[in-house]
Symmetry: C2
Subunit: 210 residues, 2 copies
DNA sequence: CATAAATACCTCCACGCGGAGGCTTTTCTG
DNA sequence: CAGAAAAGCCTCCGCGTGGAGGTATTTATG
């Protein structure tokens, strides 16, 4: 969960749906901002369409004019929140691929509710009839894995990472560990998220550092 | 997710709630069995109290006589399904701790709907007002990590696992990776769950096997 | 075997949810 | 400036959970 620069399509109106009268786009953004507020205050299941609508002073059905479903709205909220995080973080580019991941994870758990939202949406994406979230996460996982695979391969070529493992598999493993550990941390904050994830750096170090 | 022999409390009536006239216990089990069927057929959100009740030929309120809430019922369903899996698997005891985990993960994804149920419940456990699932997973994660930590420490002492890493952290990492990878696999079955998880064995092998 | 308690349900209700359909107003475009 | 498209919003619907209050039925026990 969370890997910098995987979604740089500023143009694609993944947010919302139909045409763009520019006023509608602004309204969409307004809805998302409110939704984020509601979300951080009341959690995932407290974020009903009705409650967001209440915060905006309209009826819940108004929101469905901008988003096809609650699920789609929540996905948009996640994208929006994450995009903020990433852009406030664009200059940093640590040496190792694993460090990028560690940093993203740590920043994730600092945004209240973000991990919870992520979990909720992942669970939703596994439902048979889910559309928005399934498409989103399928694509997302693939993009994140691909980016990380590339970085790992580069690190291997540079001699920074042992080369007796398949970078694609390690990438999947790291993403999985990062996701899973954020959840464990939410339930048990005594876990040292940063140091635990850093273990990967040790495990992936080349055999003889001289 | 899924690690053998973490819950051998056959006596504790985590399933359901009140007294045990022995007939009631049987009925509870019957409900859980039906619930699992409904779940594998209709997914997590299709498993409403009403639908399970329908499958049993009773009203939804009857179920609330045996379980305090839908959430508690779902937790019981998960425990039940997992207990089945584990008992059908009790004889096996692979050499390495990591292999135990790999096996559990592979068997998990073979039970239809189990990973989805797990994800749903984990997401629920992060909700502010969740009770049953939060208690269950907090305890569960701790138990699984503890068991795995112990196994890893043993492997380290036996020279089967490198000893320059903290077994407790590696345990958390492995559990996280296993959980996360099962989800990735559900969304992208071309991922080789078994081999990817096995990467840990390579990463954790001692430096010089000689 | 009587009887009190626990069990095993049911019906009905309160409330919240997401979503479909419809209606008016605003805005862009030829 | 016409009219199509988009925006903006509401009312109504069905389904969900949880619970209150009721009534048979079963069970343990003296």
């Amino acid at each position: 969960m969370g890997y910098v620069d995987t979604m740089t399509s500023d143009e694609a109106p993944v947010i919302g749906r139909s045409g763009s009268y520019a006023k509608g786009v602004a309204r969409r953004r307004e809805i998302l901002d409110r939704a984020i507020e509601v979300f951080t205050e009341r959690g995932a299941d407290g974020t009903s369409l009705r409650r967001i609508a209440q915060a905006l002073g309209v009826s819940h059905a108004a929101l469905l004019h901008y988003f096809d479903s609650r699920e789609q709205l929540l996905v948009a909220v996640y994208e929006h929140a994450e995009a903020r995080r990433d852009e406030a973080n664009a200059q940093h580019r640590p040496a190792l691929a694993t460090d990028v991941m560690v940093r993203a994870a740590v920043q994730n758990v600092e945004v209240p509710g973000l991990v919870q939202l992520y979990s909720t949406l992942v669970a939703a994406s596994l439902e048979a009839d889910s559309t928005a979230s399934k498409a989103f996460f399928t694509h997302r996982f693939e993009a994140v894995r691909a980016a990380l695979t590339e970085d790992l391969a580069r690190d291997q070529a540079a001699g920074l990472v042992r080369d007796d493992v398949d970078p694609a598999r390690i990438a999947a493993l790291i993403v999985a560990a990062s996701d899973g550990l954020q959840i464990q941390w939410l339930l048990e904050p005594s876990i040292d998220l940063q140091e635990t994830l850093r273990s990967f750096t040790t495990l992936l170090a080349p055999p003889q550092p001289s």
